[in-house]
């Protein structure tokens, strides 16, 4: 498979503090689903912020195909909190990223409605964000990012604030969308079960500055069953590596 994102020697520091990332190198295959796990504060969100252009790196390069295309943006980010604009109705929230991509208002509305249908909230188009449940808001957050048909979709613990049932249904929905769109996914989570359920590769970040401590391929057949021995083994293996890296970190 072809490489979509090529990260070389990336360094990021906040102010005068020691760098969060330094010499960070990684590559993402086009169409892959990568989960990123690691202890709290290691730099997972920071990595996503750099890839989405919110934070400028101190050094290093991020290469990805960036030709501007009508009605598309190369990268989109799903925030941990929904961050919907309260003064826009659901439909206008979904079309937010489409503005300025060369689509007419009619085209934007059609695309937004289509994306809303995709996440199963087509009938909610005319509602205000405060009239939605937490799970519905998170779906809109997802739809807003999907509507720009990104090459790379970044997700920062998007389901962590939801109850188990809602989380699982959104995970299945995300997988369905991934199969349909073949968007490259980079999914940060602290839920290892979620990582193994979704991803075909789980990357464990650790250390200070952070690097890739372990890189686990997940070759379980899809659709995956959580209560199989193979699944639990995969989760257990990653959990062991994670606690090892946390203990190492504490020892420094």
């Amino acid at each position: 498979m072809a490489t979509l994102v090529d990260i070389k020697d990336l360094a990021i520091a906040y102010g005068k503090a020691p760098p969060v990332l330094a010499g960070f190198t990684a590559a993402l295959e086009r169409g892959s689903f990568t989960a990123v796990v690691g202890p709290s504060g290691v730099g997972k969100s920071t990595l996503l912020r750099v890839l989405s252009g919110l934070t400028a790196p101190a050094a290093g390069t991020v290469d990805m195909p960036m030709q501007p295309e009508k009605g598309r943006r190369p990268v989109a980010l799903v925030f941990q909190e929904a961050r919907l604009l309260p003064w826009r109705r659901v439909l206008e929230n979904v079309s937010f990223g489409l503005e300025g991509t060369g689509l007419s208002k009619v085209e934007r509305t059609a695309r937004a409605q289509e994306t809303l249908d995709l996440v199963g909230l087509g009938q909610m188009a005319g509602r205000w964000p405060h009239q939605l449940s937490g799970g519905q808001r998170q779906r809109i957050n997802l739809a807003r990012a999907l509507s720009v048909r990104p090459d790379l979709l970044l997700l920062d613990e998007p389901f962590s604030a939801l109850d188990a049932i809602t989380r699982q249904s959104l995970q299945d929905e995300l997988l369905r969308l991934w199969h349909e769109t073949r968007t490259t996914m980079l999914f940060v989570t602290h839920d290892l079960d979620e990582a193994v359920y979704l991803a075909d590769r789980v990357v464990l970040l650790g250390g200070k500055p952070a690097g890739i401590v372990r890189d686990f391929p997940v070759d379980l057949a899809r659709p995956r069953e959580r209560d199989t021995a193979n699944f639990s083994d995969a989760v257990r293996e990653i959990r062991a590596a994670l606690s090892e890296s946390v203990n190492d970190g504490a020892g420094i």
């Binding site: 989405s52 252009g53 919110l54 943006r73 989109a76 980010l77 925030f79 909190e81 961050r83 604009l85 309260p86 003064w87 826009r88 109705r89 937010f96 990223g97 503005e99 300025g100 991509t101 205000w128 405060h130 807003r144 720009v148």
Partner: protein
């Protein structure tokens, strides 16, 4: 319903007390003109044509001064909130000008514009400018940084895009609260601005009080209160429409 009833009772009690005080000789009717004398005073003012022309003239000053003062205050408040350089450059200018009361500008208004409608409008502009400036500045500064980041993440990086997509809608509630305060302030400023001889409600009040026609003064006080009540009620309608996205 209960509240409406109490409000009506309170108002009736107030008017009764007001009527009783001069009627039973507690105070001279010159000091406290009884409400029963007001309708005839009102009719006389209308028949003489004073009332309508005073209301129209004042409304003109009011509308123009309010629109300009609010517009300038909001625009400068938001610009100052958006551009740190401007904020720094203006910080002491603002501290210098802010505490000057509107009335202190009257001599300058007369020197610059003569005794004219422009002078009256100028006083009203000053009267509402600062309220709107500070309301807009505060509201724009308080806009959720997380939402500004959403704009960045979805490619809306320019200042103008952020202004129209996030800052203005996000500070609407604060701006409108300031504008509403200004709405009342502007009526006070109208009277102050006309006291020095520009035709309008304030001038007519001045004339009546120099003739000791206190019941006419009260007619114009009530006129101003009614006009304020009307503009405020209309404004609240507009505000609720603009903010219908709030829970």
């Amino acid at each position: 319903m209960h509240r409406t009833l109490l409000a009506a009772l309170g108002l009736i009690a107030f008017v009764l007390l007001w009527e009783a005080a001069p009627r039973f000789g507690f105070v001279s009717p010159l000091f406290v003109p009884p409400p029963s004398g007001l309708p005839s005073a009102f009719l006389r003012e209308i028949q003489a044509g004073y009332w309508v022309s005073a209301v129209l003239a004042s409304l003109r000053h009011y509308a123009l001064g309010l629109a300009l003062g609010t517009g300038l205050g909001v625009a400068l408040g938001i610009a100052t909130a958006l551009y740190d350089g401007l904020d720094a450059a203006l910080s002491w200018v603002v501290r210098l000008l802010r505490p000057v009361p509107g009335l202190a500008w009257v001599p300058f208004a007369i020197v610059w514009f003569g005794i004219s409608e422009t002078a009256a409008t100028f006083i009203i502009i000053i009267g509402v400018f600062w309220i709107n400036f500070y309301a807009a500045y505060g509201a724009a500064k308080a806009v959720d940084k997380d939402l500004l980041e959403v704009a960045d993440a979805f490619g809306h990086r320019g200042t103008l895009a952020k202004l129209f997509k996030i800052v203005l809608p996000g500070s609407t509630a604060g701006i409108l609260a300031g504008a509403r305060t200004g709405l009342g302030q502007a009526w006070m400023a109208v009277v102050a601005a006309e006291l020095f001889g520009v035709p309008g409600l304030g001038q007519r009040m001045m004339q009546a009080s120099s003739l000791l026609a206190t019941e006419v003064v009260v007619v114009y006080m009530i006129t101003i209160a009614a006009l304020y009540g009307l503009t405020d009620a209309l404004f609240v309608q507009l505000r609720d429409r603009l903010l219908r996205w709030q829970r």
